[in-house]
Symmetry: C2
């Protein structure tokens, strides 16, 4: 399986600190057509297949109002990713780049963000197009697209003063 143990020429791994600074709760699970990392696309496409996002209890009421958006941001946990590479060589050509200059799943905190097109919401299932993750991927969050969303509270009186 790619990226489990292999270190390619030019890559660098570190002994990462224990991941105990904060804890996550999986709030749902993503169902996609892709069951191996080899067949999973590297980036989602808005004309890609419909995928189902299942929301777990007790979070289902938090979906209220999400249907008013066409585009939503999905945040999920890349549960199979190693977390120790600082330099990576995606092309396996010895030319390595820093992890923060890549959107690779391998990162110190393997959090993925995707912008997807909302297809529908029924009970605890949100259907979307545009995902790029393995079937069974744990869900961390859903938010309206930042471009479509206007904060609902009145603006603060604070002035920017550099």
């Amino acid at each position: 399986m790619a990226r489990d143990l292999e270190i390619r020429p030019g890559e660098a791994a570190v002994q990462p600190p224990p991941p105990t600074d904060a804890g996550l709760v999986f709030i749902g699970r993503i169902h996609t057509p892709w069951t191996t990392r080899q067949e999973t696309p590297r980036q989602g496409r808005l004309d890609g297949p419909v995928c189902r996002i299942e929301i777990f209890d007790p979070w289902v009421p938090a979906l209220q109002g999400l249907e008013t958006y066409t585009d939503i941001e999905v945040i999920y946990w890349l549960h199979l990713s190693r977390r120790d590479l600082t330099l990576q060589s995606p092309k396996r050509d010895g030319a390595a780049r820093g992890t923060f200059s890549l959107r690779s799943p391998v990162r110190p905190n393997p959090i993925a963000t995707s912008m997807v097109r909302l297809v529908g919401i029924a009970a605890n299932i949100v259907t979307v197009r545009g995902l790029d993750c393995l079937d069974g991927t744990p869900l961390l969050d859903l938010k309206p697209d930042r471009c479509q969303f206007t904060p609902l509270a009145p603006p603060k009186p604070f002035k920017i003063d550099e």
Copy 2:
């Protein structure tokens, strides 16, 4: 302090499961001009003040190559946020909406994502414009803007077959 304990009319809180499904490591700290939640803007602006993102060891080498992008995605942890509200009333008017239909900091996993403009990188400090978080906010990840980034590995042969 707003949102610490208060439940506004129309809001709903749950007893959330323990956040032990996965663990995070704070990879840096964000330095901004805002020291209270009251003065922190609700959304960042690309013409906002320059903010400094400090990267901790051992992750500094992972910055290599990030300087080739003008826009980067910053993922950070809203460490002061409560995590138990499913319905929220941002206007305090009794009209509540689901947490997933808001970009409020209050969410089961208080992860924020911002698109920012890169100003510069020097040693372990990344300077940017466009952030909207409190001074001292823990950093989780940096990635190139998804629109500017082209995956570097060759495309997979998998065909979409709905």
